[in-house]
Chain length 319, copies 2
């Protein structure tokens, strides 16, 4: 079996399509990788790139892409609403197939070292690749942002894993292996952000809810309704169906109903199957032999997925 990983590099450029086309060029026409998505956000001034592929090809691509980003993105002139510390700001690496979490952590160290050697940009290993407890959470590393980095890196507590001072125009990069994170939003029929936030608070970990749910409320202005917007940080433990049913249960208090739900980005087949087992009255360890097309129909039925198709399932891109 081929070793397949996903990377989701975030770059500090969300306005210039021309620049981002150059930055992602190494992933195009490179055998063994698929560029799945480029999502540019102008107000964040930030782009999120999703690439999946064989280990060697993806590594080659991201090192080249980082070199291009250093040349084209100058943090000294960068403004945007999203916190950031580098031109290539963060590089999450996710094991997909034929590679263990441990191997993927090792791989993140190789990638970090390779980027540092090519570009001189300091590297922080974060998430599962952290070498110190304070480096587990990206927001802690990034606090102070690009502008505060030179001072922060002088503090021994916040030294980087590679490099002693920030790159003058490209800052620093957080590199780390993490579990697949599912971005999952549930549409309600309520225009009240206050009520939907209360639902989110009851469902999320910080409010006493499910262990692996982060949640907030977001208003969709065009439709005048609010969403519970969530991250499932370990779908193998807290499943989609639990998020869906918990939101439905909490919404009940306010007479609010769920009208639809959506996956942002990609989702592993396993994540969908574990929730379909619930609705099909199967046990967690029972086999479900379904084609991708069948899975799509079933999640639309049971979880009211909208805007969903086989192209959103990671396995669609694998052999």
């Amino acid at each position: 079996m081929k070793q397949i990983i996903e990377i989701v590099p975030n770059f500090s450029e969300g306005k210039s399509k021309a620049i981002m086309e150059e930055v992602i060029a190494p992933f195009k026409g490179l055998g063994g990788t698929k560029l799945l998505n480029l999502e540019m956000d102008a107000s964040y001034n930030r782009s999120v790139v999703t690439v999946i592929g064989e280990v060697d090809s993806v590594v080659k691509g991201i090192v080249e892409s980082a070199e291009i980003a250093v040349r084209l993105i100058d943090m000294r002139e960068h403004k945007g609403e999203h916190p950031r510390m580098g031109a290539l700001d963060v590089l999450p690496i996710i094991p997909i197939q034929g590679i263990s979490e441990e191997e993927c952590i090792e791989l993140s160290y190789e990638i970090g070292e390779a980027i540092f050697k090519k570009t001189g940009i300091p590297i922080y290993f974060y998430a599962l690749s952290r070498k110190r407890p304070q480096c587990e959470n990206l927001p802690d590393i990034r606090k102070g942002e690009f502008e505060g980095l030179a001072e922060k890196m002088q503090d021994p507590f916040w030294r980087a894993d590679y490099g002693d001072v920030p790159h003058q125009s490209a800052g620093a990069i957080a590199v780390g292996c993490r579990k697949p994170l599912i971005a999952y939003n549930i549409d309600t029929d309520s225009p009240s952000k206050k009520k939907v936030l209360r639902i989110a608070r009851r469902v999320r970990f910080s409010g006493g809810g499910y262990r692996y749910i982060q949640a907030g409320a977001a208003k969709l202005m065009d439709r005048n309704i609010c969403q519970v917007t969530m991250n499932l940080t370990d779908y193998t433990k807290t499943a989609l169906y639990q998020a869906y049913e918990a939101v439905k249960m909490e919404a009940c208090r306010y007479g609010i109903e769920i009208t639809a739900s959506e996956i942002v980005g990609l989702v592993p087949k396993d994540c969908l199957l574990s929730s379909l087992r619930y609705y099909l009255n199967k046990d967690d360890d029972e086999n479900l032999d379904l084609k991708l097309e069948e899975i799509v129909e079933l999640v639309k039925k049971y979880l009211k997925f909208r805007d969903f198709s086989v192209e959103k399932i990671i396995e669609y891109y694998l052999d």
Copy 2:
């Protein structure tokens, strides 16, 4: 407002009613305290005592009770199924009314010191009163039990907060302030412990479930059904209704239904009101002006409480 606390001392004697009557005698006829419950378990060879009352009276009572326990309970001869390290094994102290958590932690230090000075029994401060991270969880402190205590206390990592060596017949005591813990069981109509354990796993924190739920499965032999047996470790964050509805939702997968639920021990009124607000479609901060009798009827209706009456609500014992 009077300062009211609850204490739940656990003594290593569960067979002799005569001994336990002497141990709890200080709480009887003592103004300002109410002895709410004495629960003796012969196979555990352990008794759980629940006392509620004004701070000064409760402190006076427990110090006397500890002195009696040292005289009557000899750990060198003690056998029982429950882990234990002392004659008075653990002393949880819970703030109920007019006293903050911080004040209650301070109080636990005073009580620990008083018991040590009167009896010479070493004291470990645990739970919210822990002075070192390794002392947060009682099972960690108690590991090795009475028989292993002398050796354990020589390890600097496991020195006691008061005392250098175990009391020869009474071992050591864990003393600490903790939040009110709700023991809550849900009866299912299923005789399958395997299935009910799977429900419990999905609901509990360790399996990806709610943050403040600990859960397992227990078979009720006389009725040939299984319970999901739970501790809610912070009911202000994870509410009863969430535990109930989550179990109902997970049980659905197996065609299992909830037939009843029960509170073991006492429950604060607040805990019931916060769940009734959910079922009465009120918001978390809305006032609910209900008499204790009305609360009893409503929780029987919505949460299928069995064997429940005003005597199980802590406020019943307060002015």
